[in-house]
Amino acid sequence: MPTVARLHEYQGKALLAGAGVAVPEGAPVTNPSEAAAMARRLGGRVVLKVQAWVTGRAAMGGVRFVETPDQAEEAAAALLALKLGHFEIREVLVERALDIAHELFVSVAIDDEARAPILLLDAHGGSGIEQRAGSVHRLPVDVHTGVRDDALADVLRTSPIEPCHHGMVIESIRAIVTLAAGCEARSLEVNPLVVTAQGDVVAVDCRMAIDDYAVFRHPELGIEIARELDHPATRLERWAYRVEQLDHRGTFYFAQLPVNGTPGTPGTTGTTGSRGLIGFHGAGGGGSMMSMDAISRLGFQLANFCDTSGNPSAGKVYRAARIILAQDGLVGYFGSGSGVASQEQYHSAYGLAKAFAELELSIPAVIRLGGNGEDRAVEILRDIGEQIPAEIRGYRKDDTPAFIADRFAELVEQANGARWSPRARTIPGFVGSGYRFPITHGTVWIDHDRCDAPTTALVIGNSSGLLVEDNGRPVLAVSADDVADRDSELVALEIECRRAARPVVFVDLPVEGLD
């Protein structure tokens, strides 16, 4: 089953076969003895290919031809021990080797300039698009009717492929284009499509990426995480994706970046030239990238890229921070986005404050929350910073990313090489018994035993009208439905109680997988 919106070769080939394009006989295996068995079943010469999204797989030693099952076993063992790019190899495709007469390069891509699909076609064989740039034909694809047969025939006429095979080649190419449209691929590359010595037309390789935004319409593809990543989804990326799926208010995008070649590698700071690994929390796609550049320029290495934007709830920002802080070896937490947001920035401040407080953050955090409500956002972060070991600084829209990156570097310097070790959140003692009510994917707890008159007044005053007094204690004032999605207001309430040194409210917002 594909884990992300990029498919492995064998997954793409299964789709090609379903669309009427011939593929070599074979199957993926996960250990050497399976490889031997598959080679025995296929008989004769077979090819073993690592399943990884890397370019130039053959040049990296990821493809082997063998003659016997024993050799297949040996080759599979070697291939499964490889590491290519960001990939630990888990699967090897074993297929019958073909006797190839002609190779074609066939690729359906999206042409951003034409705002239309395009077919890249080279019928002169060879491998590697760079080497053949001159002989690749760019054929327009109509989004409704596909590619024109006469255009395909024109390309084939000038190729060394014998005319008797042209009909079948055209049919296969049309099927590839139809498949790309049918499963809404962002790209579908068959390199090569071959004509065998026996005259069959077969897809020998397949690279395919499905449009993230269309995955919801394609349950048949069984894509677990609709994200385009250059590696199989990590544990944290799975948790993050789950959070995004459970709550569609605002955007939450999270990807781990390669550290020493592998995303999600813990504790690898201090490597050549790096001033340390950081947790990165952006807001807005462009603003996040701009902020990433500003902090990277100072020599820090991002453990992850993250973007919470589009008015996310405090609960969503909190969960994002929790996932960022599930990474080992961080020297600091850097948050910065577009800087001039039209949304109220204190919701994000409350979410971050809750995560930092619960984890008793002990590495520096620099957060720039520019835009409406920024003064309140900065005050919240400052007050929570005073209650925990970490140095926390909040900044506004008039502080540039380069300026706050410098402040961050100073704080990291002063922290004397402190590194973050992920830890469990602290949950107050009153959680588990006493007054509570459920909200979507969470529970709100109130410590009624410590609710004297001023505390009750404080709680109700900060509850955005969600709570009322009952026998001197704060209780829910609205229906279960009306409070279900009010995590922003409830997280604000929890943090306001903390700021007032009366921590009697706790919003339990577990992160699936982490808690």
Binding site: A283, G284, G287, S338
Partner: protein, 309 residues
Amino acid sequence: MIIIDQTRRVLVQGITGREGRARTRLMREYGTTVVAGCTPGKGGQDVESIPVFDRVAEAVQSVGRIDVSVLFVPAKLVKVAAIDAIRAGVKLLVLVPDRVPVWDAMEIAAEAATHGASFVGPNTLGVLSPGRAVLGMIGGRAESAREWFNEPIDGRTVGVVSRSGGMTSSCGYYLSRAGVGLSTLVHVGGDSVIGLAIPDVAAMFQQDPETDAIVVFGEIGGSQEERLAAMMTRGHVTKPVIAYVGGAAATEGTRFSHAGAIIEGGRGTHAGKVEALTAAGATVVESFGELPAKTLEVLTQLQPAASDP
């Protein structure tokens, strides 16, 4: 000014939804002339005393000419709604929703081409001409937008075109603080297939007498920045271009939030874009913080040339 001012007659599709309703009010408060709304099945209702119709063609028939339609409908309904507007003769669409499937965007593009229409987005915050009108949701509250964005200033006015919504506002805000005037802010949208792209918008700014220079917020992925560079080289864009390109630290093969922000097969890299723009004569800043001062510098150098007949 390009694309929008108070004289253009605007339709809102999805006007009865939460977002559509709220944004219609904000657009009006800023000066936009909203003449009708459209939500299938809600024809006959009013939103903020704006008449609502089932189909765009009915709206046109009832209220007369419609210049622009702004869409606040769920992503999966954007295609149907956009085609409805295009077939009713609307020549400019603003597709606000995020997560519109790319094959839907290509169908919209094909339909628009057939009917001579164009569109901004998908995944756009919209277009804002300071002091005049706004399409979409740039600036949020009308008073914030008035406070943040300068109106055009004689001889010191730029047009802003950006691939990032948040950074469209940021560019407008920081440029205004630096004393630069703004003709129009355009967020082209973060997707890989969009309607008006950076080069198209730059061509519009080139024709706009109010615009003295063009500020670009670019990103990794796709070819918009390279195509702008090619237009400059060919002499189709001669006004000064000041640009920042995000994603210097981006790695290949991972999407950086925006659907269009991905380096694939060595194409769409930060270095490639910076090189193309620089070679074409654009002023490219390495750090975003340098953008306002650099822009002012370029505009100041322009002054004597501008007064020279």
